[in-house]
Subunit: 215 residues, 2 copies
DNA sequence: TCATTTTCTGACCGTATGGTCAATACGAAA
DNA sequence: TTTCGTATTGACCATACGGTCAGAAAATGA
């Protein structure tokens, strides 16, 4: 209707919109399929069907299956890293680790497929994201170890090996995404309710915070 | 040479030996390949090569890829269940959960491939072992929950939701197998040493036992 | 030695998959 | 309307894979 719509938005916006929208649909579908079937088991045809596009159109946006997979894995990794900030601006372990657990539990609930893709990738020896592990993740880990060590030195928690504490944080929170199907089966076949998610988060927080002597 | 070798052993033993030996080699190779490539990514050819047999010979012992996969998953599940006994004959949480953590950490170290196959299977929605989840695992879980609840009622530990405690035990111990590659990368590229495995086990035990108020 | 059962294997087949391509449709600017 | 770059798609191809099979080769027992 408005004939005075912003030129810039129309000029470069419209086309980019189509591209962005299709890429998003493809990435969402790919995340699900890769999570449920693995890289080898996933087929471009199934991803295409799920995204509502012909298969040839997929290859227009993502040249190869591996390129598509790379993007999916990278997306998850970035979501993960964002949750890390919870850690930094915290005065002590109760606040910092508590917030980190909450953030990661939320991701497990909102991005279960992504978590599974990541887990599978690592289990297969990280053929695609080995460089991330050796650079970004390693740096991040060192930084957090330093933070935890400081808390220990300040007497805010017991002298736990920070490395194993981090592994435990990752393991417990991601378990609710990666093994969600098993948990659901053991929950009489029903997905966890809001209340159960809260209880899970609180249980994890309490056990770990008490376990490291921070409570 | 000895013409008086036990008849019974030769009669039914020899042939079974060949069969058992080959099945074992195939299962070991299959476990590795399935763990590293997933069901879809694994190829019968690769499993055959790794077992040192022609592909057609595989199909002589295991009619289909899925049959082979089923056997691999079942084997792991049974190893897992054996570790459960640590739980039962224990007077309290320190002894019971401590022994369980140690048993499961040992399995993570000795059967990392099996753990990965199991994890992948569950992440894919347990298409092959859903019945196990709904029967054996569910029963086992209920039994352990009762044990933990008794410990709580007896005041031997804090009132933690037993279910989430179990999930935490599974998550933390299996993490050292399933994410072994990531841990190795963060360990300067070296596998954990004996000492590091002991430290990991102790860290997990301490945090959890203190976390549930059992220490 | 001979007969029988088990084990082994190369060659082969149908199918499914990742990827290509030429042709077409579409949208924006002139 | 014409032009031009972007987006779309059906048809097609080469390959790789799971699985089959007939027959050879061992192993076993008489």
């Amino acid at each position: 209707m408005p004939d005075t719509a912003p030129i810039s938005r129309i000029r470069s916006g419209r086309r980019t919109d189509i591209r962005q929208q299709n890429e998003r649909m493809i990435l969402d579908a790919a995340e699900r399929v890769f999570a449920e079937a693995g890289f080898g088991g996933a087929t471009m045809q199934l991803i295409a069907d799920m995204a509502g596009l012909p298969k040839a159109n997929l290859h227009y946006y993502f040249p190869t299956k591996e390129a598509l997979y790379r993007r999916v894995v990278r997306n998850i990794f970035e979501i993960w890293l964002d949750a890390a900030s919870s850690f930094d601006d915290a005065a002590g372990p109760v606040e910092g680790i508590g917030a980190y657990v909450e953030a990661k539990m939320l991701i497990s609930r909102q991005h279960p497929h992504g978590s599974k893709v990541w887990a599978t990738e690592v289990m297969h020896g990280a053929p695609v994201i080995q460089d991330y592990l050796e650079t970004t993740l390693r740096d991040w880990t060192e930084g957090r170890i330093a933070v935890i060590q400081r808390w220990i030195d300040q007497g805010q928690m017991a002298p736990i090996d920070p490395r194993h504490l981090l592994y435990m944080l990752w393991a417990t929170t991601q378990h609710y995404a990666d093994f969600g199907h098993q948990i659901e089966t053991l929950n009489a076949g029903h997905p966890l309710t809001d209340r159960q998610w809260r209880e899970a988060t609180e249980s994890v927080k309490q056990i770990i915070l008490r376990g490291i002597g921070a409570l």
